[in-house]
């Protein structure tokens, strides 16, 4: 359960609106269901009180929205950033994607977000409401009278179990502690795959990727995918394709996308969160991150503004592409 409350955030937003620091607020808004939280712009206290929410389903990373919103909004936008969002925020600043002056960022602590798929796994479908009671989550379904009580840990999203950092790396103001970078086990899953035979790996990925329906949700949620025009939408890129058809980019979509964001991906996990088919897309991004950490030294995209990503950098002593495999083979 989150330590910071909806009321605290609303108070903060109202105060900042009132003293003119910001002119609008980018925040989480009630959706159709309690677990269905969507991003929205709030202009005043009434709107905030009516629809602003903050709970374990507020996983949306707002950084990306700033690219478009800062262009449209007069005055400053207030944005609440969880630690992992702050990395995306910095990365977008590194890429000059929005004007820092137009944003008032409030860093907030995050206790980890819930994965609705996990909730459904336990409680089944037909969830009618979810309420938060103390440390527990009370899930009411259409089929049961009594709500099922869940502990946060039971339904914690994978990306939060393997949280890499509770540290807010960018903010104008902080609510709660600044937090620390933590040792996570986020590469364990990648290592498991690496330990498989090529055949097993191929089978794994074929199984996962075959479920893709090319809905583009991963791309649309990804804070690294803010291109003015995506190569997959561009008829001149040679890889354009918008519908699932048996053509080139269809099969390569996820590889190309992963490569495009390599070195820029902060491992926020939005891609996997939004995937309606539950494809573990973060395992592609983490592979790149893990490799680049091992080959070229630790690098965390977004840890600071202006850093130079491994793929737009080099040393004369870098290892050869062939040595990548020699290294692994000798390790094994």
């Amino acid at each position: 359960m989150q330590k910071i409350t909806r009321e605290q955030l609303i108070d903060k937003a109202v105060a900042l609106l009132a003293d003119g620091t910001v002119s609008c607020v980018l925040g989480w808004s009630k959706g159709e269901f309690d677990y269905d939280v969507t991003p929205a712009m709030f202009n005043n206290e009434e709107e905030l009180k009516a629809n602003f929410v903050f709970n374990d389903f507020c996983g949306v990373n707002f950084s990306k929205y700033l690219v478009a919103k800062t262009q449209k909004c007069e005055g400053k936008i207030l944005v609440f950033l969880k630690p992992c969002d702050t990395y995306s925020f910095n990365q977008l600043l590194t890429e000059h994607r929005f004007d820092r002056e137009k944003v008032y960022a409030v860093g907030i602590p995050c206790e980890g977000m819930a994965d609705i798929a996990k909730v459904k796994e336990i409680c089944g479908d037909g969830i009618s409401s979810i309420a938060f009671e103390g440390e527990k989550m009370a899930v009411t379904t259409l089929y049961e009278d009594a709500p099922v009580m869940l502990a946060a840990n039971d339904v914690l999203a994978e990306r939060c179990i393997n949280c890499k950092s509770k540290k807010c790396v960018a903010f104008d103001e902080l609510m709660g502690d600044e937090g620390n970078v933590i040792d996570s086990n986020r590469f364990d899953e990648v290592e498991k795959l690496e330990a498989m035979t090529p055949d097993e790996r191929f089978a794994f990925w074929q199984n996962e990727l075959s479920r893709c329906i090319r809905c583009n949700a991963c791309r649309d949620a990804c804070p690294a995918c803010t291109c003015e025009k995506c190569v997959f939408d561009n008829p001149n890129s040679g890889v354009e394709n918008k519908s699932p058809a048996n053509s080139f980019e269809e099969k390569m979509f996820h590889i190309i996308r992963a490569f495009h964001v390599a070195g820029r991906c902060t491992d926020c996990g939005e891609c996997s969160r939004v995937c309606p088919q539950n494809i573990p897309l973060h395992l592609l991004n983490r592979k790149f991150i893990k490799d680049m950490n091992e080959f070229y030294g630790e690098y965390q995209a977004g840890a600071e503004v202006g850093s130079r990503a491994p793929l737009v950098n080099y040393t004369t002593e870098d290892l050869e592409p062939g040595e990548v495999f020699d290294r692994r083979d000798t390790d094994a």
């Binding site: 262009q71 025009k229 001149n236 890129s237 737009v312 950098n313």
Partner: protein, 664 residues
């Protein structure tokens, strides 16, 4: 749709021997866009070229594919042919069916099959070719030389000699550099001042050359042919135009205890000073850190004695903006600090000195008027130990020193040893060496003379420790040939300190976007074939800023750099390579990925206003490629996440089309 003509060359039997040329021209007829296809014995011959020109006219061709030898051989030829036929020269593609087909495959069937595929790829590419026109940019006919040592002086004189104006920027109050501090020069032993000072006078008197002394480059913008440079002229508190260099102010200045940089601190100068008698420009400079008048307004003696009225305590730093077509870097070197090498007791005894200090001690204009005297007590040294390679040739993992050989030390040490023995035959001179490296005209002969005629004791080995005790320096060293540890009581120890690029070079390289190696030496465009050019177009390298060099090498490199500059300035316009990158502003994110990988600094950013479909406007940061600077490597095209960046002549779609054609 293009109208493509295909021309298959037999190259006598070179191609036709393993490739069925008839089958190739026939097969390519049915490729998309191909309206004409033929083959001929020698496409590159006049008859072959005429055949192409005729076909272009007859069939209204818009693109040409020549299946022939390597494009490295005749691409230029066929581009000219296309131009002669009225086509854009970049509407030509070559399928390499000789070096990469007929010559490597023995079987006719295989060869023909492959030649057809290579032809198809070329057709697929030419279908997407667009006419390209090389950009042109004007050339500002003025050169900037940064650094006024012998390298900069020689470069400036040579450029001026060709009739182009040159500016020299020198951060010290005078030009002359390290060479002005030297005594004699190897291997001829003529005095440095005798050969350098006339050149300095030439510079001063040359009406094509302007000297900005006591000045630094503070900003560089622009590109080859069109650099905009800001020069910061530090306030010297003396009006250069009026000062006659008479020295009356220096005589009267009461601040006497300022360490004299020119003599490496071995004697003192005044707060107002002229570095040495032959300085150019010969004007005084006030050291603001030492002058009482400038520090607390008390004194003003120099102004009183200056009959010319040149002293100006209110002078401010001045910024001068100038345009240049070419920039020559001649920032030179310095000996490294000996602080980390105190096993030689440099910081513990005045009688342990560097070789450059030794130059001043033997120089007639130096602190001892050329008499070799110990700095500590002014006595004649009777035993002198020279130590070679101090800080040179060190392992990268060692705690101190440089990895490279400093190149000049073996020769100047031989010179010092020889001159000492010549002037003071009662002096014992030891030289401890690891290797004696004397490649160069008359160099080894010179070193042998030091040994054989002058009796200098060369000992293979290194000094391990110098212990000052009383008035002797106890030198502990190894003699590897005799397999002995030697202990010598010396009066003077001279360290051949490694040399390193001047500290101003690194920020300058950043301003120039010129690359440097890990030692901060400037990198040349090609180590063998373009040794005086930086990879950044319009930037040239002269002297030790590029690597350790002696005077003859420096002067010849200065000449080479100047001839490159003259070649550039002689042009009225620069014609670029049209195969450069360009960014589609509608797709550009302005993310700076491309800029980071560009080795030439060809990419800059600007904010541009876009009108949106909903009639609002939006200001976006977009990348702009300067075609005069871009060399067309394409690194940026892959770094670009949105695909906004593409390369003319090797566009994403073109290469993709080639891949498709090859892979069926």
């Amino acid at each position: 749709m293009q109208r493509v003509g295909v021309f298959v060359c037999w190259c006598g039997s070179n191609i036709a021997g393993t490739v069925d040329v008839e089958a190739v021209s026939e097969a390519l007829k049915s490729e998309p866009g191909v309206v004409f296809s033929t083959n001929y014995q020698y496409m590159c011959s006049q008859a072959g070229q005429d055949m192409i020109i005729d076909a272009v006219k007859e069939h209204n061709l818009t693109g040409i594919v020549v299946c022939s030898c390597s494009p490295r051989m005749h691409e230029a030829t066929f581009r000219k042919t296309a131009a002669a036929a009225g086509l854009n020269p970049y509407m030509v593609e070559i399928a390499n069916i000789r070096e990469q087909c007929s010559w490597v495959h023995k079987d006719m069937l295989t060869g023909t099959e492959k030649a057809i595929i290579l032809g198809k790829a070329a057709v697929a590419k030419v279908n997407l070719n667009t006419p390209l026109t090389p950009g042109e940019s004007p050339v500002t006919k003025r050169a900037l030389v940064i650094g006024g040592g012998i390298a900069g002086i020689q470069t400036a004189l040579d450029i001026a000699d060709a009739g182009f104006p040159v500016d020299i920027v020198e951060k010290k109050p005078t030009i002359g550099g390290k060479m002005a501090q030297l005594d004699k020069t190897f291997p001829t032993l003529d005095c440095a001042a005798c050969i350098l000072t006339p050149k300095m006078v030439d510079v001063a008197q040359n009406d094509k050359i302007r000297i900005f002394s006591y000045s630094e480059v503070s900003e560089i913008k622009g590109f080859v042919g069109n650099f905009d440079v800001t020069i910061k002229k530090n306030a010297r508190f003396v009006n250069e135009d009026i000062c006659t260099g008479c020295g009356a102010c220096v005589d009267k200045c009461p601040m006497k205890k300022i360490p004299n940089e020119f003599n490496l601190g071995m004697d003192n100068r005044k707060a107002i000073y002229i570095p040495f008698a032959q300085a150019v420009p010969k004007v005084a400079t006030i050291d603001p850190n030492a002058c009482n008048m400038l520090k607390n307004g008390k004194c003003g003696l120099c102004a009183k004695v200056c009959t010319a009225g040149a002293i100006d305590y209110t002078q401010k730093d001045e910024f001068i903006e100038e345009k240049y077509g070419a920039i020559v870097v001649a920032t030179g070197f310095n000996p490294i600090s000996m602080d980390k090498f105190d096993e030689f007791a440099y910081n513990q005894s005045k009688d342990v000195i560097t070789s450059l200090e030794f130059e001043r001690l033997t120089n007639a204009a130096g602190p001892t008027a050329g008499k070799l005297l110990r700095p500590s007590d002014g006595k004649h040294p009777h035993t002198i130990v020279f130590v070679q390679c101090v800080g040179s040739r060190c392992d990268a993992c060692a705690e101190k020193g440089k990895e490279y050989c400093s190149k000049i030390c073996c020769m100047y040490t031989a010179k010092h040893a020889m001159l000492t023995r010549d002037k003071y035959p009662d002096t014992e001179v030891y030289v401890f060496y690891i290797d004696v490296r004397t490649p160069g005209k008359n160099f080894d002969e010179f070193y042998r003379r030091a040994v054989e005629e002058y009796g200098v004791k060369y000992i293979k080995g290194m000094v391990g420790k110098v212990t000052p005790e009383g008035d002797v320096l106890k030198v502990q060293a190894s003699d590897l040939i005799a397999n002995k540890q030697l202990r010598i009581d010396a009066d003077l120890v001279v360290l051949a300190a490694a040399i390193e690029p001047d500290k101003s070079a690194r920020p300058l390289a950043t301003m120039l976007t010129a690359s440097m190696d890990t030692n901060d030496f400037f990198t040349e465009a090609h180590p063998k074939l373009r040794p005086v050019e930086s990879p950044t177009a319009g930037v040239f390298l002269s002297g030790t800023c590029q690597g350790p060099k002696d005077i003859p090498e420096t002067v010849s490199q200065a000449g080479a750099a100047s001839s490159k500059v003259i070649g550039l300035l002689a042009k009225d316009k620069l014609t670029g390579n049209p195969c450069v990158a360009s960014s589609n502003e509608l797709m550009c994110n302005g993310c700076s990925s491309c800029e980071k990988v560009c080795p030439y600094g060809a990419i800059t950013y600007s904010d541009k206003e876009f009108r949106m479909p909903d009639r609002t406007t939006k200001v976006r940061r977009i990348a702009v490629v300067n075609p005069a600077v871009c060399q067309g490597c394409g690194a940026c095209t892959v770094a670009c996440p949105s695909g906004a960046m593409d390369l003319n002549g090797f566009a994403n779609s073109q290469i993709m089309a080639e891949v498709d054609a090859i892979c069926k």
